[in-house]
Symmetry: C2
Subunit: 502 residues, 2 copies
């Protein structure tokens, strides 16, 4: 097909993106339903539907007409506005990648992931890694294969990392993680030699019903518009967005733990604010949504830790916390609460790890992924390697796989190469905080009053509104200058030295 | 396209139906999300998605290739098995109907319904019929137009009735409703002259949290497999099914009313059992799901009234009812409870009407629809006509539109001609009961023990498993013989005469 004018081609491009957005919306809702409301034994029919819709999505993207359309627009790049030019660039990347995956593999992989989701949930529940093994083996095999399709010149794991954070590779991450370890490990050692913090009151009985009210309150303090953002309950918390006016977060209530859901809500709320803050003009285009996992995690972990675990934020919310949980926290004051939610202690569960030891959990996953994709570790040996690394990095014994290598949903969801984004995001966030303070002065003064509006406005202006218009590296550097992990290690050192009087 | 063999064409037919099923699933989940979990102000993006998917669904059904496929199979009908033959018949009906609706009208109508859903919910909430008027006007106009497309030889309202119950028309319904009125109105008059039943205890405070547990219990007694059937909360209760292994019911909890949700759950549970009982072989075909609205309502109202409002059922569940609501029902015994849930009294809200006056609520809607589609009533005059008819049929004053003509979601959902199915379904159900008793003897003996298995097994055998394989009239007559409303009026007369000692 030939295009008669650039306008006609741009029109076709817009229509294509709107159609893709519609399928993404439909498949996103199917996934949301699967994880929130669907009865347990309904995966078969959903699998069939996903198989058919995945095939349609694939055909919609990978077809000669689209190839021609993109080529035509690339040949007329100088006549396109900046947004359209970037849309073409993003679509080209997706097209080339998809084009390299044979349709039947793409569809089979989608079906595999649908099945794996259910198998993993059951395996975790029953502490039965063996039942999940064949699924993870296939997922690893597909990811290796896809890595070769995406970037045959890169080492496979680098190619996968590049999917989540453009330009990232193991050389950079090895250095980054080494730098973190150098700062964190001595800090942890010092902390273990001083008086430990009592956080036992966080593990009294906290009824889910009251925690639900607490979630609503936290979302309100964060300034999340509930007419555009819902909250649901899932095994593993996540955020999904259908457009910048329809975002959903999920959490999981543990009745013996006040902070698990509390920080899930703030973390996912950070993701949600990023999506809600995108400019309307990117809706229903390839530029909608956050630009990379690293930038996304910078936002979620900014709210979770830099804001949510600050003295200022605790000061703002503590009266409400006491009101909701007056019995459980009868003898607890604001300082005790602040110290308890920041207690640094090597532990088993990543999502419940403290801010300081968190990166070590990521390093375990990073090392295992590197080996799985590198071919030096077999899936059946993951539990043993997991246990070995937790012992080495965190000094803890992993008693079972439910609290070990089955704890996260990422691998069953096909995400290999995603985990490092969490650590990167934390480091990005610390550097953003310094820049924000240069621009706004003492941001914590407002936070202490429960007013996050200036913080969020700054992030909307510099990060959120751009959605995927700028590449992640460019976006970050334009705002913060060159990435330097030192901002993060300095932040951690200062915070935890003060907290523990080191 | 030419087919080389019947097998090849049958294969194409199966693939077509599987694809249609996938889109129906996706759009069904979008609707489920919209009504259960979606934040309030998210309709715009969902509308865009529905618009695109509706267009795809339309194109998928209405295209020359499908026309050829159906013609080819019709020409080879003698070589097809019975199921395939019926699939062709059902698809042909849909094809011919869709073919008559221009694509742009079909899509515009889907978008209109998406918007109307949100507008109606708000209008009902704010008792503001005027804001809903332009939407209902358009829905009525579309339905008139579609009626002409479907069956230009029929009166428009007959054509619409025929959509929900093949073969139904106003002549039959006028006679049916007259027969009902003849039996019901004198009964109501007699009841109003005797001692009224005290049902005030049903309207104490019943916390939603405990009602949720009660719903779980009721579904358990009904033998609904929760691994294949979920329950959610919506403004207006409904049932949706994606296949026979994935069915969802919804309810609405009113904390000042124990029975509203109780009978919604049993009613929707009846719909769910019908869907869950379908034979696997009809999944992902045009024969999946219940065959008509009348037969569907026969199942829902069978469980709701014939079982759920029986002395035997009350006997079975009363210990649990007392356990859950011990304070509210401290002074209430089984007989008082049975009488209270059967109290016959003209009232405002259809879904909360008793078994006896229910049909009068339907008659009001039937008369209004007949006039709206017949062109003798304008939408703006619906509230006044509603009030007039409620006064005439039920003798009650309608104080506002929220509790009047805005109470049901059917019209905002585009369903005009559906309401009569409720009354027909009740009558079908009464006739099924007699047949069931002929086959099984005293079915209520088991029900009194909380054992509905024989009742459900009978319905699965005679009704559920057939899904849409048989036409509704044929299905009913093969099991019950010729339809006769007298079974229903006899059932009502006997039950309410005994209840009120008339």
């Amino acid at each position: 097909m030939k295009y008669e004018s650039v306008n006609q081609a741009v029109e076709a491009l817009r229509k294509l993106q709107q159609t893709q957005a519609a399928y993404n919306h439909a498949m996103g809702v199917l996934y949301l339903d699967a994880t929130t409301a669907a009865p347990s034994d309904t995966w078969e029919g959903r699998g069939k539907t996903m198989e058919i819709l995945s095939q349609v999505t694939y055909d919609l993207t990978v077809n000669p007409e689209n190839g021609e359309l993109l080529s035509y627009l690339e040949a007329h790049a100088e006549e396109l506005d900046a947004q359209t030019k970037r849309e073409v660039e993003v679509l080209r990347k997706g097209y080339d990648q998809m084009f390299k995956i044979p349709a039947e593999e793409y569809v089979a992989y989608s079906v595999l992931l649908n099945d794996a989701q259910a198998v993993w949930a059951k395996a975790k529940n029953e502490d039965d890694f063996a039942s999940f093994t064949p699924y993870l083996e296939k997922i690893v095999a597909y990811n290796k294969k896809f890595a070769g399709y995406f970037n045959p010149d890169m080492a496979p794991y680098d190619a996968l990392l590049n999917e989540y954070e453009e330009g990232m590779n193991t050389a950079t991450l090895d250095a980054f993680f080494a730098q973190l370890r150098e700062a964190i490990v001595p800090l942890i050692a010092k902390i273990q030699n001083v008086q430990q913090i009592d956080d036992s009151f966080l593990f009294h009985h906290y009824p889910a019903e009251v925690q639900r009210k607490f979630s609503d309150y936290l979302m309100e303090v964060m300034g999340i518009d509930r007419s555009h953002c819902g909250i649901a309950e899932t095994e593993h918390p996540y955020t999904t967005n259908f457009n910048n006016k329809d975002v959903r977060i999920t959490t999981h209530y543990h009745e013996d733990n006040l902070v698990s859901s509390m920080f899930s809500v703030i973390h996912e709320g950070g993701h949600a604010l990023y999506e809600l803050g995108a400019d309307d003009k990117y809706n229903y285009t390839a530029l909608s949504g956050g630009v990379s996992m690293g930038i996304h995690e910078s936002q979620s972990r900014f709210y979770e830790n830099i804001i949510g675990r600050s003295e200022a934020f605790v000061h703002a919310i503590f009266p409400k916390v006491k009101e909701l949980f007056s019995e459980q926290l009868a003898d607890v004051d604001e300082t005790m609460f602040y110290r308890a939610i920041n207690k640094a202690e090597p532990s088993l569960i990543r999502t419940e790890a403290d801010e300081l030891t968190y990166a070590l959990h990521i390093m375990v996953r990073y090392e295992i992924e590197k080996q799985l994709i590198g071919g030096t570790l077999e899936v059946k040996d993951v539990p043993a390697e997991w246990k070995r690394l937790y012992k080495e990095y965190l000094g803890v014994e992993v008693p079972n796989d439910r609290e070990g290598c089955l704890q996260d949903s990422h691998w069953s969801g096909g995400s290999i190469g995603y985990f490092p984004s969490y650590a990167l995001g934390s480091a990005y966030g610390a550097q953003m905080l310094r820049k924000m303070e240069e621009d706004l002065g003492d941001v914590y003064a407002d936070v202490a009053k429960g007013d996050l509006s200036k913080v969020t406005a700054w992030l909307v202006e510099h990060i959120h509104r751009h959605a995927s218009f700028k590449k992640p590296g460019q976006l970050f550097e334009e705002v913060c200058g060159k990435f330097d992990a030192k901002f993060y290690t300095d932040y951690l050192t200062e915070k935890f030295s003060k907290l523990y009087n080191l």
